[in-house]
């Protein structure tokens, strides 16, 4: 590596630690998801083991994906690109490694807690209060490292990726406290409708103000480098950033259009949901124009290939999201598997795939050696791509069947035989994604610690 690079990298220990964290929890999280999907095909499947029954497995899957796999994957890339974009060292590699270790203990504590039945019973906010505190501390450690690195930068201009990464961790720390009603340790909840409102601010913002901005930051960094092209427009990217911050913070209530929430709140959420088209299209136009005519370069870099695929899923999930916020559409699409399809496309198809791209992009750079196996990374790409595309199709079909049935007054049990083949297909597609996760874990471990490739 060059001397300039040496002066910045300082071993890249933090990026390595978060890379391993992400790969490890991806394997665990997909295993949890597989077990949960098994219950939907065969309800008695392992149901006599209380620690892994469906009611515990699902929140374990969701929280492991969210805090174990996707967020650390995107953080690994951020800890790599922040010092380089600001031409300085990370404020503290020791603090970074400590935060990664602390992060893992937090996620593990959450999994153990939920599996033992210590759940707050609120969707996406199930983690018990003690773990909530640990999550906030984890984010605080990352925030400190980010902000102090920004303070000591030698490059005066903050590239858009830095804006996204810093905003994501700061806003999520605030949203997490509020959404988890952290000031009420006994219940972690308010009562009635106010609790639902707070919960869905958190539920939606943990995606929109954590995973989305972190993933966009990675895309804005990886794709210009992979294609050796300057960003199409930095001004446009900042417009997208600020519009996302303004618009995304208020849309959580679109999950509650069919419950007695104040109408003005519903209206804000619908209008802002539709307005999300602005930051999304700003990003996509900007990034697609950046790589225009250079798709060969994107294809040649496995990291960039993942990230570019993530941008395509970002398009689909956001167009879908804006439509789903419309009350007339939601009459059919809400309270059924359409939403599950949407969540999987967003969290795995967009943010997860982008996180994987970030990992594969930085791995050769943080180790100074080539990826252990580009073939295995490519294999993982196709397994995940086929799996998530299949998920999207199958669960959307199930959602439409269920939505039409509810709309026409059909009872629940009469739809079950009709949707069973789709649940079976979903389980089989889940096996592909889980296989990809374990192959990825192997590839990451070999690339990090047992890599015999030539040093650059």
């Amino acid at each position: 590596m060059s001397t300039a690079e040496d002066s910045i990298s300082h071993g890249n220990q933090t990026a390595k630690a978060f890379t391993l964290t992400s790969a490890l929890w991806f394997a665990f999280a997909t295993t949890f998801g597989m077990i949960a999907a098994g219950y939907l095909v065969a309800p008695d499947f392992m149901a006599n083991i209380e620690y892994i029954q469906f009611g515990r497995m699902r929140p374990m899957h969701v929280n492991a994906v969210l805090f174990g796999f996707v967020t650390p994957g995107l953080l690994a890339a951020a800890f790599y690109y922040l010092p380089r974009l600001m031409k300085t060292r990370l404020y503290s590699e020791k603090l970074g490694v400590f935060s990664a270790v602390f992060w893992n203990l937090t996620v593990a504590a959450g999994m153990v807690g939920v599996s033992m039945g210590y759940s707050q019973g609120r969707e996406y906010a199930e983690l018990p209060w003690v773990v909530d505190i640990l999550v906030v501390i984890s984010f605080s450690l990352v925030i400190a490292n980010f902000l102090l690195t920004i303070r000591r930068r030698t490059e005066p201009i903050l590239y858009v990726s830095i804006w996204y990464a810093a905003a994501a961790v700061v806003l999520t720390a605030c949203t997490y406290c509020l959404g988890n009603v952290i000031w009420k340790p006994d219940t972690g909840a308010l009562a009635g409708i106010p609790d639902a409102i707070l919960l869905w601010f958190y539920g939606h913002n943990v995606f929109g103000l954590l995973l989305s901005p972190m993933a966009l930051g990675v895309a804005y960094y990886v794709l210009p480098i992979a294609t050796r092209s300057p960003l199409y427009s930095h001004t446009l990217s900042l417009l997208g950033f600020w519009s996302l911050i303004v618009v995304y913070t208020h849309i959580g209530t679109h999950h509650l259009l069919q419950v007695p929430v104040p109408t003005w709140l519903k209206t804000i959420s619908i209008v802002d949901s539709v307005a999300m088209v602005i930051p999304v299209m700003v990003f996509l136009i900007n990034i697609w124009y950046t790589v225009k005519g250079k798709l060969g370069d994107v294809h040649a870099d496995i990291g960039a290939k993942f990230v570019f695929t993530g941008t395509i899923y970002y398009f689909f999930v956001n167009i879908q999201g804006s439509m789903m916020a419309l009350p007339d559409v939601q009459r059919i699409t809400h309270y059924n598997n359409w939403v599950v399809a949407h969540a999987h496309i967003g969290v795995l198809g967009f943010a997860g795939v982008t996180a994987l791209g970030g990992l594969y992009f930085i791995l050769p750079r943080i180790t100074g050696k080539p990826l252990h196996s580009t073939f295995l990374a490519d294999l993982q790409y196709w397994l995940v791509l086929i799996g998530i595309t299949g998920f999207g199709i199958v669960l959307t079909i199930v959602g439409l069947i269920q939505g039409q049935a509810w709309y026409n007054g059909e009872t629940l049990y009469r739809t079950l035989p009709e949707i069973q083949p789709y649940y079976i297909t979903r389980l089989s597609l889940g096996i592909l994604i889980m296989t990809g996760a374990y192959i990825g874990l192997y590839n990451v471990i070999r690339s990090l610690y047992f890599n015999r490739g030539a040093t650059s």
Partner: protein
């Protein structure tokens, strides 16, 4: 009383956003946007070239077989469930 929490959330978010935006404006973050486009490309090290060893190829083959097992397991779940599931 639902709104104090929501109003507080919106107000805090707005205040933080506004303060940061004004800081950015004051520090010239919206100037020199042409140079900002090139920031990722400055001083970026190229990754080392890939190298394949015989052992690596055998390992890759083994894991490819594992992936095939995954595919086969997926297919068998579908076939079994459709033929014996009812």
């Amino acid at each position: 009383m639902y709104f104090p929490y929501f109003i507080t959330y919106m107000a805090v978010g707005f205040a933080i956003s506004l303060a940061v935006f004004l800081w950015a404006l004051d520090r010239g973050q919206f100037r020199d946007q042409r140079r900002a486009r090139f920031l990722p490309l400055e001083g970026t090290p190229a990754p080392p070239p890939a190298k394949l060893s015989r052992k690596g190829r055998i390992e890759a083959g083994g894991l490819f077989a594992l992936a095939c097992c995954g595919l086969a397991a997926s297919a068998s779940v579908i076939v079994f469930a459709l033929t014996h599931g009812r």
